[in-house]
């Protein structure tokens, strides 16, 4: 048995017939080939599979693809303006222009060495994007709190916090 779903991923419409039990993360990875969304635990704890669903950070390993029908999804591949797999996703890269630049949070992770092995990074970046949408100028505690659903085993989090602070600063400077 399969079910028809329709959703918009990184600005592109997709229509698929899927098994009702197919996990959203497997749909993104195996059906759409968007393998930047990682699977780290399958229980919503580690956050490696975090995506933006209708603009909010959610963990795609414990959602079914059918639950996401009708939704607008942004994965890590759709965050930078010039992503080869996406364009015009409504989230934007913080520059206000589809000019091909990295999102300010991606830039922050690069500038501040916010990643080592990179496996948690896509989820971590999207969780940070979600935070900065809600809170333009989060303090250290607010950043730690917002990222507490995303596990990183490499960095010890400190450089990630600096990356988010960098992005917050950069994004508010751009808005001015």
């Amino acid at each position: 048995m399969s079910v028809e779903i329709q959703l918009r991923v990184n600005g592109k419409e997709h229509q698929s017939a899927v098994e009702p039990r197919l996990l959203l993360v497997h749909y993104l990875r195996d059906v759409l080939g968007l393998t930047g969304t990682h699977i780290g635990c399958e229980t919503s704890i580690c956050g490696a599979c975090t995506i933006l669903l209708d603009g909010k950070a959610v963990k795609s390993c414990t959602l079914l693809a059918v639950q996401a029908s009708g939704a607008e999804i942004t994965t890590i591949e759709g965050l930078a303006g010039n992503s080869h797999k996406a364009a015009g996703n409504g989230i934007g890269n913080g520059t206000g222009a589809g000019n091909g630049a990295l999102h300010a949070v991606q830039e922050g992770f690069w500038e501040k060495h916010g990643l080592q092995c990179g496996f948690c990074t896509p989820g971590m970046i999207l969780a940070a994007v979600d935070l900065l949408q809600r809170n333009k100028n989060p303090n250290e505690g607010e950043i730690r709190g917002a990222l507490s659903g995303n596990l990183c085993r490499c960095t010890g989090y400190q450089h990630i916090i600096e990356a988010v602070q960098y992005a917050a600063k950069k994004m508010s400077a751009r808005k001015r």
Binding site: E19, R21, L22, H26, R29, D30, G33, L34, T35, G36, T37, H38, I39, G40, C41, E42, T43, I45, C46, A48, I76, E77, L79, A80, S83, H84, K85, L102, Q106, F109, W110, E111, H113, L115, Q116, C117, G118, F119, C120, T121, P122, I125, E140, I143, R144, G145, L147, S148, N150, L151, C152, R153, C154, T155, G156, Y157, Q158, H159, I160, I161
Partner: protein
């Protein structure tokens, strides 16, 4: 050589692909016609297998193959163990259990299907008739008289006994004013890289070529082992470690799935992929630590340590993985830490239990050593009512004592322990912290200060002291276009050598780092190498790169000098040109000299064409980074909650190629220690069930568990390699746990507590502050 890039915090070359999610870990790779494997695993810790019935599974939709241990009998050899200890008993792990299972999660059967859901579905159709046996979970019970041996044909559960003694121990204990005894437990941990393991294998029958992509830290060693396990020609095995999402030692191994998935691909003539679930990662990827250390310290009244004796019970689990028996012996080598202790003895009893194997987890035997000696120093201080810093100062070797020979047979390369201690004291403002603590205690608040002065052994290492080769390889090829390929035998999985080795290439050849491409993890491209572990990639792998770079530089200098009519010794490499020192206007563009090596028309007489050099670097010794960590905690007397208030880390890893990356390693290492100290513990129940079998039950540190880490460095280069680099991958994890433990014990001192075993969970701490349900003190 001018250092424009070495020593600078360059942003990583690895990052653009990682922050955009467009790089590829094993599970991201898909091949046409690919099948998926799934493993049926034992729910029992100890059982005989009466039968395995695969009939229904084989007929399930999508299933193409289902095999039990009997089906592969003889075709796939057991997991290899590289460690050799005299009189060590056998404990080889079969790739699929046949007659019995010895731990929960041991693979019993494998199914291959056309998609991953079908493969998992089919596991439910396999019928296994188990005869449950009594599991042995506690290592002390395992070696008690009358305990049944887990491995048939063995008389008990003692896998090996190992001892090491140096100095006059008898005299030390005889002349002691006091002897302090303590049992110290280093609990079992689970490494938990965020990327679980994964294997993809592809076999091309025409060419006879087997390609295996694996999330591994040791692609070449894995290639050799897969060839041996399958009795397959090594020349036709190609192993690739693509992007690897963290390892921490857990991917420094050879696992049943790596050989089996390759075997299945050969059998089917189809690509086969297996991706480990997190539950599998907990149950059947190696665990770490798990030692019971009984220590005795002989001291003088003034705090001088005369001798140290330690008996270790090391819980090895049911089987040997690649290095299982070896890990506790590293604890023995490093047991005297950064102190001048004239006599020491360690006895290790390695024990089989019905659990997953222990093996190298970040630090691998050294965190245990640092923990026991640092706890010992704190106990000495408590006993003599001295400040823990005073006791440490008293026993440090001085800079003039280096190279310093330990009673355990090591030669510490270089060190200035006092310098790092003094800097940490200054950064932390230690005196003020003590004043604050006294004030808070009066107000009924329990602040604790912990100090750890550590030394660790890394840069592994000379081959004479390693189970199988301690060297590392590197090939540098300057391509005809002038781009530089650096092929390293190291296999980074987050450490950032694509950047640091490019920094080296840029400075040595006088070009930009963007011109240097570091290639790793592919056995068809990279010369045979050892891999990334034991904080060796920079000190050993980096030195091989350094030497190869200098070899091609030397050749380029000869070519340039030939063109310029100058002396090769006087060639200067900078800004993409090679010029003569005496007259900088006499220069050749870098690319032109490179081109000359390939066009080969204007080369000096008897010079071979081409521009490539390979080095197999064998270090003469290990390296010994050190440092001081100071930690401040406050314990909530109502809840037992341990809150990190401050963390100061001064680390010395010798010279540094990229301080940003060193900082990342230190911080990450410390947080892994915080995990061990405050949160993490692999718990098996009496039936051998892994109670902490998921991230829901096994608590990893989160962003909210940490305070800001304040870091500083001192620089004491090593004489062991030309760059003076020591290594930093494990220092944080080795140095931090004792600081955390010291802080907790210090906070609880008013309750008469001197030592608490990790992890410092609320209930345990709360109980320690109470007697008969009421708060004492």
């Amino acid at each position: 050589m001018t250092t424009r890039f070495i020593g600078k915090p360059l942003k990583r070359k690895e990052d653009p692909r990682l922050i955009q999610g467009i790089s590829h870990y094993v599970d991201d790779l898909n091949l046409a016609g690919m099948h998926y494997a799934a493993f049926l695993r034992s729910p029992y810790a100890h059982a005989n297998i009466r039968s395995v019935d695969l009939t229904k599974a084989r007929h399930a939709s999508g299933v193409v193959l289902a095999l039990s241990g009997a089906d592969i009998d003889g075709a796939v050899q057991p997991v290899p163990c590289a460690a050799q200890i005299p009189d060590m008993k056998s404990g080889a792990r079969p790739v699929l259990a046949r007659d019995r299972v010895l731990f929960v999660g041991e693979a019993v059967a494998v199914v291959v299907a056309t998609d991953r859901y079908a493969a998992r579905d089919a596991l439910d159709l396999i019928e296994v008739d188990y005869e449950p046996l009594t599991p042995i979970v506690n290592p002390e019970k395992a070696i008690a008289k009358g305990a049944a041996p887990l491995h048939p044909g063995q008389k008990d559960n003692i896998a090996y006994k190992w001892e090491l003694e140096g100095g006059d121990l008898k005299a030390a204990f005889k002349s002691a004013d006091k002897v302090i005894k303590q049992r110290i437990v280093n609990q079992r941990l689970i490494p938990v890289p965020i990327e679980p393991r994964g294997v993809l294998a592809d076999y091309q029958p025409g060419e006879g070529q087997l390609t295996v992509w694996s999330a591994t830290q040791i692609p070449h060693l894995l290639r050799t082992q897969i060839a041996s396990m399958l009795n397959f020609p090594e020349t036709l095995v190609h192993v690739v470690a693509p992007e690897v999402g963290g390892g921490f030692g857990s991917k420094l191994n050879v696992y049943p799935e790596e050989a089996l998935v390759a075997y299945l691909a050969i059998q089917l003539g189809k690509p086969v992929k297996w991706t480990e679930s997190r539950r599998e990662n907990f149950q059947c990827t190696i665990h770490g630590r798990d030692q019971i250390d009984d220590i005795e310290v002989a001291i003088k009244k003034d705090g001088t340590i005369l001798g140290l004796r330690c008996h270790v019970i090391a819980d090895l689990g049911a089987y040997y993985q690649l290095l299982t028996p070896l890990i506790p012996t590293l604890t023995g080598l490093m047991m005297t830490g950064c102190y001048k202790i004239p006599a020491a003895r360690m006895e290790i009893t390695g024990v089989f239990t019905n659990k997953m194997s222990t093996d190298a987890y970040r630090g691998a035997g050294r965190p245990e050593a640092t923990y026991l000696i640092e706890r010992a120093l704190d106990l000495v201080a408590a006993e003599l009512k001295k400040d823990p810093i005073e006791v440490r100062r008293k026993n440090f070797p001085q800079p003039k004592d280096f190279p310093y020979a330990t009673p355990t047979g090591l030669i510490y390369d270089s060190g200035d322990y006092l310098k790092s201690l003094d800097l940490a004291i200054k950064v932390a403002d230690y005196k003020k912290l003590r004043q604050e603590q006294a004030k808070l205690r009066k107000a009924g608040r329990y602040m604790g200060i912990g100090v750890s002065t550590y030394v660790e052994i890394c840069g592994m290492g000379p081959s004479s002291a390693m189970p199988a080769g301690g060297w590392e390889s590197a090939t540098v090829r300057v391509e005809p276009t002038g781009r530089v390929s650096v092929m390293t035998g190291s296999s980074p999985h987050g450490q950032g050598q694509e950047t640091t080795f490019a920094q080296m290439g840029a400075d040595i050849l006088g070009i930009d780092p963007s011109q240097v491409q570091v290639i790793h993890g592919d056995t068809s491209i990279v010369p045979y190498g050892i891999g990334t572990f034991g904080s060796r990639a920079t000190a050993v792998g980096g030195t091989a790169v350094y030497k190869s770079l200098h070899k091609v530089k030397e050749k380029l200098a000869r070519i340039a000098a030939h063109v310029l009519g100058s002396d090769p010794e006087r060639m200067v490499f900078a800004d993409g040109t090679i010029s003569a020192k005496e007259s900088p206007k006499k220069s050749v563009p870098f690319g032109q000299a490179v081109s000359a090596a390939y066009v080969a028309k204007t080369l000096p007489a008897e010079m071979e064409p081409g521009l490539e050099a390979t080095t197999f670097f064998e270090p003469s010794n290990f390296t010994y980074p050190f440092g001081t960590h100071i930690c401040v905690v406050e314990i909530d007397a109502e809840t037992g909650d341990v809150k990190l208030v401050r963390y100061v880390a001064v680390d010395d890893c010798g010279n540094v190629i990229n301080p940003l990356l060193v900082e990342g390693q230190v911080q990450g290492g410390i947080v892994q220690s915080v995990g061990q100290a405050l949160l993490e513990e692999a718990v098996y129940d009496e039936q051998g069930q892994l109670i902490t079998g998921e991230l829901m039950d096994y608590a990893l540190p989160r962003a909210t568990d940490m305070c800001w880490i304040e870091t500083e460095r001192t620089v004491t280069p090593t004489p062991v390699n030309p760059m003076g680099v020591k290594g930093v991958g494990e220092a944080g994890t080795i140095g931090a746990t004792p600081a955390l433990a010291g802080a907790v014990a210090d906070a609880l001192a008013p309750f008469g507590v001197r030592h608490v075993d990790m992890p410092f969970k609320r209930e345990k701490i709360w109980q320690l502050m109470r007697k008969n349900g009421r708060r004492v003190q």
